[in-house]
């Protein structure tokens, strides 16, 4: 009927169709991600936001308040310590477990059983990880009892409620919870390394450690870098684990950027200032994300 015929119609369909298929996702991303991001930026420049809002322009007042707050800087350092220590240990433990599991010295049966068990910590949500470690690290808990018996500590330690140990304790709990991501990815990576690389090294008389340093690690490097970046971004945002073990305390000993922001918003109800803090976190995340995307594209 139309001059264009079915073929032209088909082509037109092919041009419009992808946008139609994508539109529900784009609506979600637009309304629930881009709009809120614009809103949080707007909030951070308002006198006050959400509760008794005053939309008059506050300039950089909230940002100055944040950057002038020593608790903010303490939170930033705690976040950095927590994140760097977690990522490094996740990688070290994940690599050690992956190498052990990949060894041909163990039976396939044992390997598959251990693989299932080693992944377990990853399955639990942060709330439950917090519960588990509060039980384990309670002053009267099993960890203290073992350490005292072994003579490693003289008396019971209140791991989560003493200023000296709290940050290490939450970091430890997070290390325990997060290494399987590395382990699973590295195990997949190990299986992808060509066997002839090792055979060639054997002919040259290379030792086990030499093969590890000169073949295995370099071959795994792309995976190590990309998982480290993702782990870094995610660990930086950890909230429930810290909220439910120490709540950022004692005093500010385990305050991290997420708990600092949360308290500003929902304990002090200073949502405009919390927005400034949230935007700061967002900028750090965007920086790291751009780095990550660039790395992924280079691969």
């Amino acid at each position: 009927m139309t001059a264009r015929g079915p073929k032209a119609n088909y082509k037109l369909g092919r041009q419009i169709a992808p946008y139609l298929y994508l539109s529900p996702s784009l609506i979600v991303v637009g309304l629930l991600m881009l709009l809120p991001m614009a809103m949080v930026i707007a909030y951070s420049f308002q006198e006050s936001a959400v509760l008794r809002p005053d939309t008059s322009f506050a300039g950089f007042r909230h940002y100055r308040a944040i950057f002038g707050d020593e608790v903010f800087w303490a939170s930033l350092w705690h976040t950095l310590y927590f994140t760097v220590a977690s990522v490094v240990m996740h990688m070290a433990i994940g690599l050690a477990f992956a190498l052990m599991l990949n060894s041909d010295r163990i039976s396939p049966m044992l390997r598959s059983v251990l693989r299932v068990l080693y992944i377990l910590p990853w399955l639990f949500t942060q709330v439950i990880i917090a519960v588990i470690w509060r039980l384990m690290l309670d002053p009267n808990g099993v960890v203290n009892s073992i350490l005292v018996d072994l003579g490693i500590i003289g008396s019971k330690v209140a791991w989560f409620s003493s200023v000296e140990t709290a940050l290490h304790a939450v970091t430890f709990a997070n290390i325990w919870a997060g290494y399987p991501l590395f382990m699973v990815s590295l195990l997949a990576g190990l299986q992808g390394i060509p066997k002839d690389l090792y055979e060639a090294a054997d002919i040259d008389g290379a030792t086990g450690p030499q093969k590890l340093v000169f073949i295995t690690i370099p071959q795994l490097m792309p995976i190590i870098v990309s998982i480290s970046l993702l782990d870094f971004i995610w660990t930086m945002q950890v909230f429930p684990l810290i909220w439910l073990t120490t709540g950022g305390g004692p005093i500010y000993a385990t305050e991290v950027l997420s708990t600092y922001t949360y308290k500003l918003a929902f304990s002090q109800y200073n949502l405009a200032q919390a927005a400034a803090s949230a935007v700061t976190i967002l900028l750090i995340s965007i920086g790291l994300t751009l780095f990550y995307i660039r790395h992924q594209k280079a691969r």
């Binding site: 994508l22 629930l32 299932v116 399955l123 709330v127 519960v131 009892s145 990815s185 909230f239 967002l282």
Partner: protein, 280 residues
Amino acid sequence: MARRNTRREKLITLALHVGLLAGLFFAAFPIYWMLASSFKTNGEIFALPPTILPHVFTFEAYAAILTDPVKLRFFFNSYLVAAVVTILTVIIALLAAYGFSRFNFRGKAALSTLIISTQTLPPITLLIPFFGLVVSYGLFDTYAALVLTYLVFTLPYAVLLLTGYLNTLPRDLDEAVAVDGGSSWTALWRVIVPISVPGIVATSVYTFLLCWNEFLFALTLTKSTDMRTVPIGIQLLMGQHAFEWNQMMAMSVLGSLPLLVIYLIAQRYFLAGMAAGSVK
């Protein structure tokens, strides 16, 4: 020489097994301890010396939780919200994945980067405007508040996972439908969806778990015990003055049950989901 080598070999193998055992203790003991404690009486939890097996094996903590209508409501809420979000996510993501996988169009690269980068958005940053939106639209303390906000975090993973899956399916299938005069819509529902069941299952599993585990939004966007989910229920138990440790552990075990069941039945799908963001 040869004998020394075999002794050396044996030593290495022994050291490896010691290492594996240490690893097992590190990974599994805390979980065992949670499980064992959930079957103890509250008085035995911090007994000295610690009891490796419960002296008095009791289901008291489980009974206390499973007969408390308030706590059962937490479980109902968690299942409901996770199920609704999973259904919505899979449908929306499937359409997007089909678009990404089967069409070339202007802005494709930019859109896929946008969706990938959503994965790394800090939840705390979105929480503040979400709180503003939820309050101003009267959605505070409703299921809708949770469903809508969870979608933002589940959708990117689901789109990535499903696009990856659809890319593995041959294009001849769609082309066969096109030759027969069928539209791409027909191809999607008649041909692609039926053979994508494994991908859809993996995506559903992962989406469900993301929702099941969510804490921050549930904490902030709901208030009444009628609307609280399991993670918040566990937190509420922790906040009480007299710690019912055995109940806390039992609730944690019950709260982990969906994960453990899915993990043990469908390990392959599960790991595919978990690793989705990282290895793609």
